[in-house]
């Protein structure tokens, strides 16, 4: 047992060595860039958006007091972009027998590019005019001449939020994108580091039987003159190297697909619902009964959209298959790394599955039927460490049918990740693998 633990540590070190290229600087740049954006956006949001809004809200309880305009002018601010204007006033007001002087015109402290609009704004307050201002009863030095809602915040708040969101997105998302990309490259490196992978295999108790390389070489494909069908995968002359397998259908694609179906279905159903409820006499029992199943399906689709959306945040496997070319009876090394919070996964089961799929016409509609003919649990894991990254040897059955991909008839193989997460959509990712047809017969073999 102790020996086993020591081996594990050694192997972890080996793998960590493979996995840590010095690219932290690349990740720091978007964080710095995004943080500046976010901080700038937050600054504008707080000081030019939320702060005036809060003052305006407080001023609603301020008390009216008589005041006299001492001076009123328009201040010009010049810079490289041209001139902008803002109102400048001083006024004297009386509060509980004491005289005070105020300078705040309105809560909107922004300067504007149009002088006439400022003039119009200040028109009711000429010099010497007797009017009213609003005084903070808790601090009589604090007063405002015009207590109207600062409309500028309606522009500033959303604008600054865009800055915050974009900056935050860059700072949070880009390093993760880079990290994911690095993970793929590192897994590819790990895939090539057969020594590390084999050692891991021996730790996990599985030992890969190496393919008889001599026999394989003697049966090397000689495809001259042998016809190739487009419906069957073949070697393409590339080296048989580890392969990073992409998910069969990305999670986003799943969401977009289900969202489209949901919108389409509910869009049509809602037309009938509106027309039914728009009726003066209300819906009839027959109409209600007829529409109920359609509405229930629509609601189910909405639940499915939410479910799929939540599934986007599940840990995501990055999968490496040790061999590009797989044949019936061959063994390959399957290693993966889960990106995200794997501690949420209670149990992860990885399956190798083979499926028959046929498409046919039935009346006017086209149907596709799938039948799973092979399902082998490659791994059943419950401890977070193994779920986070693991390695397993998988044997394709000797009598397995190779991948077949015609227009209406298919045989496909996939590796399926099924992770149980309590109170959350489960991990459900599939990765298609190609099993090639048998190597060609040679008379002397």
């Amino acid at each position: 047992m102790e020996t086993g633990s020591t081996t594990t540590v050694t192997e972890t070190t080996q793998i960590e060595n493979v996995r840590r290229p010095n690219r932290w600087l690349i990740g720091c740049f978007p964080i710095a860039f995004g943080s500046i954006f976010t901080l700038a956006g937050l600054g504008v949001l707080v000081f030019a958006g939320l702060w005036p809004l809060s003052l305006w809200f407080q001023s609603l309880s301020w008390v009216e007091a008589p005041c006299k305009i001492d001076s009123a002018s328009i201040e010009t601010h010049s810079d490289s972009d041209g001139d902008t204007y803002s109102p400048k006033v001083t006024y004297t007001y009386v509060w509980k027998g004491d005289n005070y002087q105020g300078t705040r015109f309105a809560w909107d402290q922004t300067s504007y590019g149009s002088r006439p609009s400022i003039e119009k704004w200040m028109e009711p307050f000429p010099v010497g005019a007797n009017t009213v201002c609003y005084v903070n009863p808790n601090d009589p030095k604090d007063a405002v001449l015009l207590r109207s809602f600062p409309k500028i915040v309606l522009f500033i708040i959303p604008f600054s939020l865009i800055f915050v969101a974009v900056g935050g997105g860059v700072a949070w998302g880009v390093p993760r994108l880079i990290q994911n990309q690095q993970a793929r490259m590192q897994m590819a490196a790990l895939g090539q580091n057969r020594a590390a992978m084999r050692a891991m295999a021996s730790v996990s108790g599985t030992e890969r039987i190496p393919r008889d390389s001599v026999a394989l070489a003697s049966r090397a494909p000689e495809q001259e003159g042998i016809p190739i069908s487009a419906s069957v995968p073949h070697e393409t002359g590339e080296v048989n190297e580890p392969l990073i397998i992409e998910p069969k259908m990305g999670r986003w694609m799943n969401l977009v697909g289900i969202l489209f179906v949901c919108c389409f279905w509910n869009g049509i159903v809602s037309v009938f619902l509106f027309s039914m409820f728009g009726n003066k006499n209300g819906p009839s029992i027959f109409e209600s009964l007829f529409l109920t199943p359609f509405v229930l399906i629509g609601l189910g689709l909405m639940v499915a959209v939410v479910y799929t959306f939540l599934g986007l945040f599940n840990p995501k496997p990055v999968l490496v298959c040790s061999d590009r070319w797989l044949y019936a009876g061959s063994e390959f090394e399957l290693s993966w790394m889960m990106k995200g919070n794997v501690s949420r996964i209670r149990k992860l089961t990885v399956y190798l599955e083979g499926t028959e799929s046929v498409t046919y016409r039935q009346g006017t509609s086209t149907r596709t039927e799938n039948k799973l003919f092979y399902s082998l649990p490659v791994a059943e894991l419950t401890d977070s460490e193994s779920i986070a990254q693991s390695y397993h040897v998988v044997k394709i059955p000797d009598d397995a049918m190779h991948t077949f991909n015609a227009t209406s008839n298919k045989i496909y193989w996939q590796v399926r990740f099924a992770g149980e997460i309590p109170w959350w959509p489960d991990v459900a990712d599939t990765f298609e693998i190609n099993i090639l047809p048998p190597l060609p017969y040679r008379k002397d073999a």
Partner: protein, 151 residues
């Protein structure tokens, strides 16, 4: 009348199965009602079963006959795949077809493309995990199968 005979490179006849990449020797004998006909020969696979039928010719040849009777031998390499299959919904079968389209005369000989002599037979369908749970919930039995050790 058209007669087809399939044999291996070493002359063995009658087994009817060939390995991927193996040389297939096709002997065609014909006796037609008239001279100067176009004969077509195809080595092809066809899908049968529940899905829409599909087919693809791995080899295709056509030649003109001068006389109404004759004989010709062809040698072709069998492709890598698809190998012969007997699935639950999908079957892939290989044939050698020879025909005279103008006269509506056709001869067909079935063969098996396989490494074992038998088509690959897919196991009984596995009941998906979700379905198995539903069946269990309703008290229905899901017998374990060789292909599905999970049930």
């Amino acid at each position: 009348m058209i007669q087809l005979e399939l044999s291996h490179e070493d002359g063995r006849v009658g087994e009817g199965w060939f390995c991927p990449g193996e040389l297939l020797v096709i002997n065609v004998r014909w006796q037609l009602p008239k001279d100067n006909c176009e004969l077509n020969l195809q080595v092809l696979w066809e899908t049968e079963g529940k899905g829409t039928g599909e087919s693809e010719a791995a080899h295709e040849m056509a030649w003109e006959t001068e006389k109404s009777f004759g004989e010709q031998t062809f040698e072709v390499l069998m492709p890598r795949g698809p190998v012969s299959l007997e699935g639950n919904m999908l079957k892939i079968r290989w044939y050698v077809d020879c025909y005279v389209e103008a006269l509506g005369i056709k001869a067909r000989k079935a063969l098996v493309l396989s490494t074992t002599g038998e088509p690959i037979r897919l196991p009984e369908p596995v009941i998906p995990e979700g379905m198995a749970k539903v069946m269990k919930f309703f008290g229905m039995k899901t017998p374990p199968t060789e292909s599905n050790p999970t049930t």
